[in-house]
């Protein structure tokens, strides 16, 4: 395959950036999108140019490190992470636009790399349970009904890649935050911090400069892990409950 790539190039955090065109040839349809970018970078390095910076780690779709907006869609045209997107979903001669996640809360570090530490601060403000450390507890000590465990697992699938924020026209982190809140709030282990968790995580989310939810549903379409849009409704319900009941 021969492709034209138009990639956002930006030297550093406060630097101006621009869409720069590159031609790549000899791309196999079995390559992943990141392998295609590796091919481009090898050539750029040999030519003495600066390679395109992008985040990646496990390359098997579970770590949430990679992510770029491909032709206006977070993680590209398939419901998966960028590392698991294969070039067979593109055609010979295509022009592909590649941009970083765009959100005020995710400033560009370099090229396609953005700073997603705002997510870490949301997690730090409540995305945990207080549990005694030490040896693993007896598994049957705390019974969890199967449907509750299923709901928790469904939301625990969130890998924090940030595609929801990138896809949202308001740069909102509601889907991410709701996945974390619902994951822990439905479980008995999460019950002691049920109110403080949702109040503090929403508070941090707002303080980090993410936008609000206008229920466009773009986030749930972009999510590679299929976190449902109704999670946001569940978090709203938890928030309203906590706003009334939280100890003061």
């Amino acid at each position: 395959m021969r492709l034209t790539l138009r990639i956002w190039r930006q030297r550093g955090p406060e630097q101006p950036g621009t869409m720069t065109a590159y031609e790549v040839d000899g791309i196999s349809e079995d390559m992943s999108f990141l392998e295609m970018l590796d091919t481009l970078n090898e050539r750029l390095i040999l030519d003495g140019d600066e390679p395109v910076a992008f985040d990646h780690d496990c390359r098997e779709g579970i770590c949430g490190a990679c992510g770029m907006v491909i032709n206006g869609q977070a993680h590209g045209p398939e419901r998966t992470t960028t590392c698991q997107l294969h070039m067979r979903h593109f055609s010979d001669g295509d022009t592909i636009d590649i941009e970083p996640w765009r959100a005020a809360a995710f400033p560009v570090v370099k090229d396609l790399v953005v700073d997603r530490s705002a997510f870490d601060r949301i997690i730090g403000s409540g995305g945990y349970v207080t549990a005694p450390t030490g040896s693993a507890p007896e598994a049957h000590a705390t019974p969890v009904p199967k449907p509750v465990a299923d709901t928790a697992f469904e939301h625990a699938e969130c890998i924090g890649c940030g595609a929801c924020v990138a896809a949202c026209p308001n740069g909102s982190a509601m889907l991410f935050t709701s996945a974390k809140v619902v994951h822990l709030n439905v479980l008995p282990q999460g019950a002691p911090e049920r109110e403080s968790r949702v109040l503090d995580m929403v508070g941090t989310m707002d303080a980090e400069g993410f936008g609000g939810c206008t229920n466009t549903g773009e986030c749930a379409v972009a999510c590679p892990k299929g976190i449902p849009l109704q999670s946001i409704a569940t978090m709203n319900r938890e928030f309203l409950r906590a706003a009334r009941r939280a100890p003061r």
């Binding site: 959100a103 005020a104 989310m205 400069g209 609000g212 229920n215 409704a233 709203n236 938890e238 309203l240």
Partner: protein, 244 residues
């Protein structure tokens, strides 16, 4: 001894690191809470619109019944309430709902636009038409409310403007093409606003779930359609001579 005590006092105070703000402050200061204000005020306005639309349809039963209905509205709650007090209570509630809805929408929109300062170079169609037009639709509806009150409540811009004769005022009004155009455009904007707004309100209030989603979307679409059709029926009937 006296030198030690204050230190102990400070340490004891540090146990409580601060109190959470009140429920109302928590709501108004957060994006989630502010959306709740929009959802609740939206539902209040929607319930009023259903009653308003049903009342409007009484125009098809003739001048006596329509004007009588308008008079009756002013006598609700008598003798506990004075003449037209009920109507004024409704008006105060509605003005408060419109103001809170608008202020919350303005503040959230400012925030939302600021949260995505750089647009994508590769643009593609996003979300549905109703979803994308909520902000402009809301502005159109706010302007329409002003026009509508001047036209049929204060009768300032009404071509007939005879207080106590709403039937005649409505008929005289909708014989003008511009009154019809303004009204119909606003009602189409209203339909779109409700189509997204009602479902969105359910989502914001936490009433939505995977099981209810389809039913809520259907309800929002159906109510949007019925309200728009019910409201537009009046000017169309005057234009076509069904009501005269």
């Amino acid at each position: 001894m006296q030198g030690v005590l204050p230190t102990v006092g400070v340490m004891a105070l540090a146990t409580r690191t601060g109190r959470r703000p009140s429920t109302l402050a928590t709501l108004w200061r957060s994006t989630v809470g502010k959306k709740t204000v929009m959802a609740v005020t939206g539902v209040i306005m929607l319930l009023y619109l259903v009653a308003h639309m049903l009342g409007n349809l009484k125009i098809f039963f003739g001048s006596t019944e329509f004007n009588g209905y308008a008079y009756w509205l002013r006598t609700i709650g008598e003798p506990a309430l004075h003449y037209s007090w009920f109507l004024w209570i409704v008006r105060v509630v509605l003005v408060a709902a419109v103001v809170f809805h608008g202020v919350a929408a303005y503040q959230l929109s400012r925030r939302d636009l600021g949260a995505r300062p750089t647009a994508y170079a590769h643009r593609r169609p996003r979300a549905g038409y109703a979803t994308r037009t909520m902000r402009w639709g809301g502005i159109i509806l706010a302007l329409f409310i002003v026009w509508h009150l001047l036209d049929l409540t204060t009768l300032t811009v009404n071509p007939r403007g005879e207080a106590g004769h709403p039937y005649q005022n409505v008929v005289a009004d909708f014989r003008n093409w511009y009154a019809d155009a303004i009204y119909i455009v606003a009602m189409l904007a209203l339909g779109l606003h409700i189509r997204h707004g009602l479902w969105s309100a359910a989502q914001t209030l936490g009433a939505n779930s995977a099981r209810r989603d389809a039913a809520l979307k259907f309800t929002a679409n159906a109510l949007a359609l019925v309200l728009t059709a019910g409201f537009v029926a009046v000017p169309v009937s005057v234009m076509t001579g069904v009501v005269s």
